[in-house]
């Protein structure tokens, strides 16, 4: 059975990260859309306002609708490209690959599917880069890989990145996009929440800055671990952020949700996040915040 899956694929060899082509971006309206379906599409339709947008313009605007400012979901590498100084990125731990420790029904198939869809091997991209010349440790969840869910590899890569930040005495910025803990790795996924949180505790002990950026969607075990533990919490406009997903709340509590429930704006209103920042402004806002913490880091180191 697996042999057949293996045969028809064209992705048997994984290229080194640097040569890998940018994976297709997901839009929530067309979750199954792959590059194959739109080989040389010139335009995209905004799922919110219906405006037809030239992809060239859309890319220029960080895949934010030029009419209604709807933020399209984008891949980890697209985020990196928008955010980091050119050629400043050094990827870490790309050789970490998932296993199927529980022999969970259908997990290997899901991993293959995710690989094809995303062109990456796991749900997070980590490494070192510069933002306006300031070195920073970065992690981005990959929405195209099982909705950025956290299993052993995601947990381990994030922890290694944080530990490396401690070694290098650098700030950490994590962009979360995740459905939560990855069901298919069971209790091991659950404890990645504790593992990543514990590492962030160590980072905090060293007086190092952690900025958490919550993007659409961030839920479950990721909200209940690293995504909520930033010294500064930033969200993209309209991003859905919460612990329990809206459908589950409605089903189990038989509770109707207000229209704006669990949006970034709702979270800010309830005092749960600091800032809502447009994607096009993210780089400059992060740079300003990072700069404000450079002096502090030196001071704290002497305390």
């Amino acid at each position: 059975m697996f042999k057949d899956i293996f045969k028809k694929t064209k992705y048997v060899t994984i290229q080194p990260a640097a040569q890998r082509s940018a994976p297709s971006d997901v839009s929530p309206q067309q979750p199954s859309l792959s590059k194959k379906d739109l080989p040389d599409s010139l335009w995209s339709k905004c799922p919110k306002c219906g405006e037809v947008l030239f992809n060239k313009d859309l890319e220029k605007n960080a895949r934010v609708c030029t009419r209604c400012e709807y933020h399209f979901r984008i891949s980890a590498r697209s985020r990196l490209a928008i955010l980091a100084d050119e050629n400043s990125f050094e990827e870490w731990d790309s050789e970490l690959l998932p296993l199927d420790p529980l022999e969970f029904p259908g997990y290997e198939g899901k991993l293959l599917e995710a690989l094809e869809k995303s062109g990456t091997t796991e749900g997070v991209l980590t490494g070192l880069a510069k933002i306006e010349g300031i070195p920073v440790v970065l992690a981005f969840n990959e929405a195209n890989f099982m909705m950025g869910s956290m299993g052993s590899v995601v947990g381990e890569k994030i922890v290694r990145a944080i530990e490396q930040a401690i070694n290098l005495r650098l700030p950490v910025v994590i962009f979360s996009t995740s459905g939560g803990a990855r069901m298919q790795e069971g209790i091991l996924s659950l404890y990645q929440m504790a593992k990543t949180s514990a590492a962030l505790g160590k980072l905090a002990d060293k007086h190092l800055l952690y900025i958490s950026v919550l993007t659409d969607p961030t839920f479950g075990g990721v909200t209940a671990s690293y995504a909520s533990l930033g010294d500064i919490l930033i969200a993209e406009p309209n991003a859905l952020i919460g612990f329990t997903g809206p459908r589950v709340i409605m089903q189990t509590m038989r509770q109707e949700l207000p229209k704006d429930a669990q949006t970034a704006e709702f979270n800010q209103e309830h005092g749960l996040i600091d800032l809502i920042v447009q994607r096009t402004q993210m780089r400059s806002v992060l740079a300003r915040l990072l700069r404000c913490h450079q002096e502090g880091a030196q001071y704290a180191a002497t305390v």
Binding site: P105, G186, Y191, K202, D205, T223, A224, A227, S228, F243
Partner: protein
């Protein structure tokens, strides 16, 4: 009468037969002691056979049994002088989490636990053991005091999961749980977490960052409820039994996966069959680990806890083959 599961029926039937036989024997003054003895032996055998080979789903049923001892049942048997302390100082007192100070075999400890109610009325009061953010913030407040005053922390896990309503979202359920995880990981005092009933997802984990994680024999501890897992996998909540097997969440699985450190034995048929005996076991196992942990320095306690967490997870590295994660199945 105690809630009876299908798989227990053969035992109950046989036990009833014995009772009838004994009654018949007394009424008619006929000596049937030999027959009774044979049947009693048979019951013992049946119990060992049935309870000794429980399937994951049967364990879920026992762990959720309406008579399963909750935290308050254990308190008088485990502690002298438990003083319950309430409230998170921010919003409310959440009754699905209880905590306080107690003497455990003469040692002052801080105790924090999730509590399910018994019966509908108490369950409504305790939100079926599903804590809101104020519950986790109360737990954190009490545990912070344990750190401040150098008391060991004993947590008891028994929850279907964290509260999943809008109020929980508005008050930052995610942050409340995350803060527990981060803070517990940094304590310099011994932390022992014991799963006594249901260990439901992040809501359970919030009290689960121990130096030592113990689990009762028929408890389970899972990333997701088997019903929800079945609904995602097969769009069918009635397949929870299959999901229970797939999730590998029994005490034995947890030990094998490196999450649990020791399994606490229950009486045949589950903790509710003999609370006193169960509490005795719990007390002994906790006592053993506490003794060992108290011999460590604060820094070692903290670092060992970090290293325990650090080691949880299964992945591969430096695989020479592309798509290394397929290797296993291709060689099958």
């Amino acid at each position: 009468m105690l809630q009876l599961f299908d798989f227990e029926k053969p035992i109950a039937e046989l036990e009833q037969k014995i009772t009838e036989l004994q009654k018949f024997s007394t009424d008619k003054e006929i000596d049937l002691s030999q027959e009774v003895a044979i049947l009693e032996k048979k019951v013992d055998f049946l119990k060992k056979e049935i309870y000794g080979s429980l399937e994951p789903w049967q364990k879920v049923q026992i762990a959720r049994h309406s008579e399963r001892p909750n935290f308050y049942d254990y308190v008088p048997l485990l502690f002298e002088d438990f003083i319950e302390l309430k409230g998170d100082r921010l919003f409310a007192d959440d009754r699905s989490i209880a905590g306080g100070i107690a003497l455990f075999q003469g040692t002052p400890v801080t105790v924090v636990a999730q509590v399910k109610g018994k019966g509908t009325k108490e369950n409504i009061k305790r939100n079926f053991g599903m804590p809101h953010p104020e519950g986790y913030r109360k737990a954190l407040r009490l545990m912070d005091q344990a750190e401040k005053f150098g008391r060991p922390i004993l947590t008891f896990i028994d929850t279907p999961g964290a509260a999943c309503d809008l109020a929980a979202e508005e008050r930052g359920q995610g942050e409340a749980i995350a803060r527990c995880l981060l803070t517990m990981a940094g304590y310099h005092v011994p932390v022992i977490s014991t799963v006594i009933g249901e260990g439901g997802s992040g809501g359970a984990l919030a009290l689960g960052v121990g130096n030592v994680v113990l689990i009762l024999e028929n408890s389970f501890y899972s990333v997701i409820a088997p019903e929800s897992c079945a609904s995602i996998l097969w769009k069918d909540t009635t397949k929870a039994k299959e999901a229970a097997e797939a999730l590998k969440f029994t005490a034995q699985d947890l030990l094998r996966l490196g999450v649990a450190d020791e399994i606490i034995l229950e009486p045949l048929g589950g903790a509710h069959k003999n609370l006193r005996q169960t509490a005795e076991e719990v007390s002994q196992v906790i006592s053993k680990h506490l003794l060992r942990l108290r011999a460590e320095t604060p820094e070692v306690l903290r670092e060992n806890r970090y290293q325990k967490l650090r080691g949880i997870g299964v992945y591969q590295e430096n695989s020479k083959k592309p798509l290394g994660f397929l290797e296993k199945d291709l060689t099958k």
